[in-house]
């Protein structure tokens, strides 16, 4: 329990550090941040607009006061308002976040279901036909950038074969079938990088576990090969895989931005990209904080799984 409390404490501390960095980033910009945000393509922004933006961002107040207000807002779940239309950032995120989460969950599910068994099987039959084919596939998948895969999926499945819609979104309650159909392509695109990584990790990890002394002990007991694999190889091999899985989620979350854009999935990336283009700093900060928080949360969950798998962690 103490261990758990410590681990949660660390996550909260990291969240605070992330928030502080994001806050400071605006002030670390060379020159006047308001001027920086308004300047596009070298043209001098006019003084009136700068003054107005400084007022909006609260840049005229002492920096500690700004920081205090920012943190206080965060604890209340108040992320400020968009510079473009004054719409509350938190509300925009509340609307979009579930859709992004759904996509991530679906992608992770696809990746894990395919890659874990495939990686284990490839390791057990190391050098066999399946191993070689799957390893080559994983290498190619790892090399195709996620937006390239998404675009090519649209080109082939939607444009040429006309099997699938090219993208879009229908609420689940309105039309469940169409919702899942629209979900499938972006989920597959998201799954690809994760699947390739999990496959490679699982394969390496199972190979490593197979050569361990305790596996020899298990065989010396006369256990059937299936049982040795299930209880003494896969269980142990999963431990390093969960660590990598947690770290990979950062890449996955970034990939989601691209995939949502490619498939017109109205998750967090739509307001994010719009805000980046319009230099709408509060909106960008809100979304970056949300996704970074999600990332920390996923890693916390991964650590819990890790601890459940490996008794040495919490007890040692």
């Amino acid at each position: 329990m103490w261990w758990l409390a410590k681990r949660i404490g660390t996550s909260l501390l990291l969240m605070w550090v992330v928030a502080t960095i994001v806050f400071l980033a605006l002030h670390m910009v060379p020159g006047d941040p308001a001027e920086m945000l308004l300047s596009t393509g070298g043209a001098m922004p006019d003084a009136y607009a700068i003054a107005e933006l400084r007022e909006k961002l609260g840049l005229n107040r002492p920096i500690l006061e700004q920081y205090g207000a920012f943190l206080a807002g965060l604890t209340r779940g108040d992320l400020g308002a968009s510079l473009v239309d004054d719409y509350p950032v938190a509300e925009e995120i509340a609307l979009r976040l579930p859709r992004t989460l759904e996509l991530i969950l679906a992608g992770t599910l696809i990746a894990v279901t395919i890659a874990l068994p495939a990686g284990t099987f490839a390791a057990v039959r190391q050098g066999g036909a399946f191993d070689r084919a799957a390893s080559a596939t994983a290498a190619v998948l790892q090399a195709v950038p996620v937006f390239v895969l998404g675009t090519l999926l649209i080109l082939v499945l939607a444009q040429w074969l006309r099997w699938m819609p090219a993208g879009g979104y229908t609420p689940f309650l309105e039309n469940p079938g169409r919702h899942l159909l629209l979900l499938s392509l972006p989920a597959v695109a998201i799954a690809k990088g994760l699947a390739a990584t999990i496959f490679r990790m699982t394969r390496a990890s199972v190979l490593d576990a197979l050569s361990r002394d305790h596996v020899r002990t298990a065989r010396a007991k006369g256990l059937t090969p299936q049982r040795v694999l299930r209880r003494h190889v896969v269980r142990n091999a999963l431990i390093p895989v969960t660590t990598v899985l947690g770290l990979q989620m950062g890449t996955l979350l970034g990939g989601t931005v691209l995939v949502e854009y490619v498939f017109n999935w109205p998750g967090l990336s739509t307001p994010l990209l719009r805000a980046v283009e319009a230099r709408d700093y509060p909106m960008v900060v809100g979304i970056v904080l949300t996704v970074s928080g999600l990332f920390l949360l996923i890693n916390l969950a991964m650590d819990l799984i890790y601890a459940a798998l490996d008794p040495r962690i919490t007890r040692g």
């Binding site: 390239v148 209880r231 691209l258 994010l272 283009e277 900060v285």
Partner: protein, 606 residues
């Protein structure tokens, strides 16, 4: 090396083309020609024209140039800064370490694309912003790698030596430490470049990276999406170029990493067909049927340089209820022989010849399922290192119960109860509570007791113990040997004890086999061999046993490696009695109840 060659050449070609873009006979990549919009083919433009009538091939090549420039620039900046920070942090520790490592941790809290978008919002899109963002993103990798390497280098002898000579810190860091961490840093550079190409193209694809009209693969894909229907190839070309580039870079990364890990090694040559000894050629032994009868056991391992034989022509015989010890220094092949008999050889090794009859049946030719039913049942094994030999993630009671249920169809609850009884039997106090413990919660001696409980779970008739006390404290060793001897008396097991300690042999064994460099050099009853050793190696081993106040005479030198055995008697180079006659390989001479492999044994024991 072959793995490095192909992707290396591919990456080199891509880089070369990108570098040479200005001097290649290409069209201007940004000159528009609206008349030839989306043309599939125009003379001089083999890949056609894009939505503004610009030459696609030229844009592809110039696109490579901008992608690679960004990638290499940011990797170089991150490598320089990160390595410097890691070096300082690892060398000075304290505040420098805190700043470098915690700083790296903070960057890792952000998903990369999101951190990039945050910076783009602040600074606006452009090549400069891209390089800045990517350098920051790859900084932690370099800091961590160089930090870890410096920490381990600090303690190395060569660094200590330079320090002792009075070299100044910057000099040590630059001249001694840096060259030695170059390998891992190089691996990190290749990873950073490959990943920077991916991120750059992704951001450009979103319209937030390279600014048009500069050609970039990400921007080309972005532009071609709109005209997917009319000109699909416009989309395919940059996709293919990007994927191939990243694939080549990833493969190169893997190859570089393998090389830096020095794990590469060439492929092992195919196993040579060796004449197999015919089984059953030997006359059946007289008297009671032996529990274990090993003859001519030879194990081979294919290594890059050829084939080595860690066990050669091993033979011994064990009767029920007796204890036979196999002795020898490390590297003599005794453990390999035991694992061969149990059928637990590592994949690279195989039995090339010999028989090992367990109660009359040859273990080496038995189908695997039948042998599996014997393993852990009628014959069991205890290993050297009880820590690594127990599975760290299961409770020890479960691991013992598992051994029971592997051979007997008993309900789980009964198996658990039996496991507790077994733990009590091997002398574990409070077995009910200990059964719920994990291996790391027990002491070394306790773990070895668990291993023994597991081995005797199904009342084996043969127990092979491979250096069961080597990994333990001296005080615990005696207790474990005592336990094994007691179990043997009570259960009537035959025991094969593998050890390098003659003291242990004298205490528990009745027969002894002395192995040296894969061969049996002497064999016989313990009292005979100890009283009258025939082989100089046995003598040397006996002389090396500490005895009262007399300082033991160690044997000079070490066991030769299996790939460099002397042509004649393998012990000759270390033997005090070696003569010219020892240049021919001696045979194992069978005496009445002893055997010896030495041409001079008669004159030496006279």
């Amino acid at each position: 090396m072959r793995k490095l060659w192909l992707p290396g050449a591919a990456v080199a070609l891509i880089v070369l083309v990108a570098v040479l873009a200005p001097v290649l006979p290409l069209m201007d990549p940004i000159r528009q020609d609206v008349a030839n919009r989306l043309a599939a083919y125009v003379p001089g433009s083999p890949m056609g024209r894009d939505e503004f009538g610009r030459d696609v091939m030229s844009r592809l090549i110039w696109g490579a140039r901008s992608s690679l420039a960004v990638a290499f620039a940011s990797a170089a900046i991150a490598a320089t800064l990160g390595t410097a920070l890691g070096l300082l942090g690892g060398w000075f520790r304290g505040v420098a370490e805190f700043l470098a490592i915690r700083g790296a941790d903070v960057v890792l809290c952000f998903p990369p694309v999101l951190l990039a978008l945050l910076v783009v919002t602040l600074l606006g899109p452009g090549t400069g912003t891209l390089i800045l963002v990517l350098s920051v993103l790859y900084l932690p990798g370099f800091i961590r790698v160089s930090f870890a390497e410096v920490l381990s280098a600090r303690g190395q002898d060569y660094v200590e030596a330079v320090r002792a000579l009075g070299a100044r810190t910057p000099r040590i860091l630059l001249r001694t430490v840096l060259p030695n961490i170059a390998g891992p840093v190089l691996v990190q550079v290749s990873l950073a470049v490959a990943s920077a190409v991916v991120l750059e193209s992704g951001l450009s694809f979103l319209g937030l990276g390279v600014v048009p009209p500069t050609p970039s693969w990400g921007l080309m894909i972005r532009g071609a999406r709109a005209t997917m229907e009319q000109a699909p190839m416009l989309l395919v070309w940059p996709c293919v170029a990007l994927t191939i580039t990243i694939l080549a870079m990833n493969l190169l990364c893997d190859a570089v990493r393998d090389l830096a890990d020095k794990r590469g090694g060439g492929g092992a040559p195919k196993l040579r067909l060796v004449d197999r000894l015919l089984p059953g050629l030997f006359p059946a032994p007289e008297g009671p049927r032996p529990l274990l009868d090993v003859q001519g056991l030879t194990v081979e391992i294919a290594v890059p340089g050829g084939i080595i034989r860690p066990v050669e022509d091993l033979g011994f015989r064990l009767d029920p209820g007796r204890t036979l010890a196999i002795v020898g220094e490390s590297g003599s092949g005794k453990s390999m022989a035991a694992t061969a008999i149990m059928g637990l050889l590592p994949p690279a090794a195989r039995v090339a010849a010999g028989v090992a009859r367990f109660e009359g049946e040859d273990l080496l030719r038995m189908p695997e399922p039948a042998r599996r039913r014997l393993r852990g049942g009628a014959m069991a094994m205890v290993f050297q290192d009880p820590m690594s030999s127990l599975n760290p993630v299961h409770r020890i009671g479960d691991q013992v119960a598992e051994a029971i249920r592997a051979h007997r169809d008993v309900p789980a609850a009964k198996a658990s109860a039996e496991a507790v009884a077994l733990l009590r039997r091997v002398g574990i106090a409070d077995p009910e509570r200990r059964a719920r413990a994990y291996p790391h919660e027990l002491s070394g001696g306790m773990r070895q007791r668990v291993m023994i409980a597991m081995a005797i779970a199904n009342k084996p008739r043969l127990l092979i113990a491979d250096e069961p006390t080597t990994a333990l404290d001296v005080t615990v060793q005696a207790a474990i040997l005592e336990l094994l001897a007691e179990l043997r008396r009570e259960e009537g097991m035959g025991v094969v004890l593998i050890t390098h300690s003659l003291g242990v042999v004298a205490e528990v064994a009745e027969d002894v086999v002395v192995m040296y460099a894969a061969q049996v050099v002497e064999r016989g009853p313990v009292e005979r061999v100890f009283a009258r050793p025939l082989h100089p190696y046995t003598r040397a081993l006996l002389a090396a046993v500490p005895d009262g106040d007399v300082e033991p005479e160690g044997i000079p030198g070490v066991v030769p490696r299996p790939d460099s055995w002397p042509p004649g008697c393998r012990f000759a180079p270390r033997c005090a009695f070696a003569t010219a006659a020892c240049a021919t390989p001696p045979a194992l001479e069978e005496l009445q109840d002893q055997a010896v492999r030495c041409v001079r044994w008669r004159e030496l024991s006279a």
